[in-house]
Symmetry: C4
């Protein structure tokens, strides 16, 4: 069951879809939400699915809303941009295919031919200067992203892309789209939103579209992240100490 | 797979749907069943789904019936009321969406435009004078429920509403309905049916519709609840004592 | 996905469906297979579903076959009988509804109006003279089964009937069928096929249809069951002794 | 949701489907991939399903592709061959039926009437000279595979065939196909690809079609397997020693 709420049918010039949904390090969602905010992109559609969670949220005005993914558009010089973001990805494999399929049909109607998906790539340790790795639908797409500094490693480190960022390209390729997934290196811990990885991807996108992005707020987030990491490490150290101290209770509960 | 058994097509004046299905503290189901009983509301429809459990019940006349949700109507002065209650909610996320969607279509045909869903909101401790929290589809709905004492906290405490009470509002909003969820504060323990929370919600509903409700039986239930809580506490205390006493058997089975 | 293989379209006089599929004590399957064997009922249809397991069996001629349920018919004097049996019930709730729905449509086409489902009812201990409990779609059905000795307890002990035996009656009732579930008292252990419970149900069915059933082979099975139970008890006793004897290995692996 | 990418519609003479997908000992996939490689079979179709995993792979050219199953054809003298292989089987029972059903329809359009599925049969120990066991859709198929040395054990050891290799025969039989499953004896350990079992099956297929297969590379793989097994055994022995040596850490962590 797919439901749409479309409030505007924008006329777009050579539109490119830029997708960022929740995932590793929350890089995709953070990046696209930042772009929407800084470019003052306009919301024009929502997609709902019975493969999203079966609850509603209560917002700050005590009003409820279903889980959804949202579409925004931004009229740029070179390419217009359609943004896709949201609070959830599908909760089932079948739902992932169904939602992606619906999104692609919607995008085809808007004239979209190229797709940029954004995600994180978890590595060991905490990358200070994260790289942006790329994977494409067709080899010819690579050349346009080499100058903005995207690294193509030919499947050496990253073997697969899970969820919307992967399926939009995989299914999209079958349906005649071309595209790229931009993966910011991030650290493999849940609960953190990696502003540094997001910043690295933003710089690639800024250069690709020829649109300057104000990075002030992202730098602030990066500093907050540093503090949060330091704090988490301290907590971990304390936990480790506790767990490695043998206690009488533990020994007889066994 | 949705199946309907409709025994009457009532003509209703400005009908409002009041839903109460099993959930936290069983507040929704208890409230709506009490209203059906006291107002002598008349059953007119049943809905069945393959997302309900795959068994039948055997009742006191040795006859079987499938799990279902039931619709009753009550002709009031101000607004006629359609009640929705039952023994189950859907067992799958997809089923939740499918059943809710079918219910909304049915309600639209009956002329329903407003929906009141009833649930419990679990808090720490046992609330002696539970409040009724509210969440709405549209801000304008709030004003009519402030006088009956509903508290709107703007998502501060309650962040989401799970299941039918949430989806009827969320999906309903998309389909042109407006409504409110009334959540009675209750304690977060399974196995209890919280008569006090239910009573608090009943008073709001009574005032909103301008219909007096006889509270005698609900007061009896509240007293029974007090006894049950006291008994449960005693049992718990005994359990805790047993578990914290080290025994030889435990140490070698461990 | 439902698939049918129908090899014959029998003309049946007032046919009654008698269903027995795997379940508690295997009473349903055993009873119906025994009837098929003794009455030399003729197979005429098979039903397949994607909610059955996704494997094939290899039989004694090295040939493969999909999991299925099977239909047989028997031309009697009073009522013709359609038997439904098989090696599996659906593996999902949705599948249970889908298969039952398909079976009911098939039966309606055959002229079936009454359904007898057979199952086991697990009790404590091992019943030497198991009773047959009944649950019906309509009260009027009861009277015809009181003489053959079916006990109606008005939902006191048995509260629900899970799976095909329940759904055929529950969904059937919605679709205009009437019927009864016959539950032979059996002991709540997996791995046993309870011939005594089956025999009790067979006697009810024999009397209801006015068809004598040769019980010789069933008596043999009942004796084999006695031996198997004795053996299982001995094994259990040995296990209990082992587990309650403290050992050094257990204490440090713990 | 089934999607096809068909790049060629070959005209085939009495084509036989030979299927080998991942499974026990990876015998099926290895065998069919080897045949495709040695016979230089030509890819002409791909099948996609929402019951395959919801990710894309990144290949050596940094391009992405969805999980899929692939079809190749080879023009032989006696029978043309259609090969089916891939990296995945469906992740759900329903998906297994849906994909198999789609494959059978596709094969019917190609003129396929006979199906050979390839799998492994896990036995205790490591078989030095693995046998090939067979199970057929119809008894008459057996005779043609007895000369190439297939053993038919009438369901004695192998009781069922799980997944695509089973369903293609089971569903195929319902749809008018005939066929056989060739199972190479292999050892029941995950992580190994059993070249010896694969070689045994290849010899049967070679003889059945009258096509010589170059076994050089398969012999190399068999030797690599021997080394891998020896290494794994050593690791296991070390593990066992560690686990059976009581340590202070283990005793108090419990």
């Amino acid at each position: 069951m797919i439901m749409w709420k479309v409030t505007e049918r924008p006329l777009l010039y050579k539109p490119v879809l830029v997708e960022g949904l929740p995932g590793i390090g929350n890089v995709g969602k953070m990046t696209v939400e930042y772009l929407i905010d800084k470019l003052k992109a306009k919301k024009f559609a929502e997609i709902y699915s019975d493969h999203f969670p079966y609850h509603v949220f209560i917002d700050k005005k005590s009003t409820v809303s279903l889980p959804k993914n949202e579409f925004y558009y931004y009229k740029s010089g070179k390419h217009d941009i359609v943004f896709l973001t949201g609070d959830f990805q599908s909760m089932t494999p079948q739902g992932h295919y169904e939602v992606t399929d619906a999104v692609l049909k919607f995008c085809k109607d808007l004239g979209v031919k190229r797709i940029i998906t954004v995600g994180g790539y978890g590595i060991e340790g905490i990358p200070k200067n994260p790289q942006v790795l790329g994977a494409v639908t067709h080899e010819k797409v690579m050349s346009q992203f080499e100058e903005p500094g995207v690294k193509f490693e030919d499947g050496e480190r990253v073997g697969m892309i899970v969820g919307a960022s992967g399926l939009l390209l995989g299914l999209g390729k079958l349906r005649g789209f071309e595209g790229i997934c931009l993966m910011g290196e991030t650290f493999s811990r849940p609960m953190f939103t990696d502003a540094r990885a997001s910043k690295a991807v933003l710089e690639v996108i800024s250069q690709y579209f020829g649109i300057p992005i104000d990075m002030k707020d992202m730098n602030v987030k990066a500093k907050e992240l540093d503090k949060a990491i330091t704090k988490a490490k301290e907590l971990e150290d304390q936990m480790v100490k506790k767990l490695t101290k043998p206690t009488d209770e533990l020994s007889y509960i066994g």
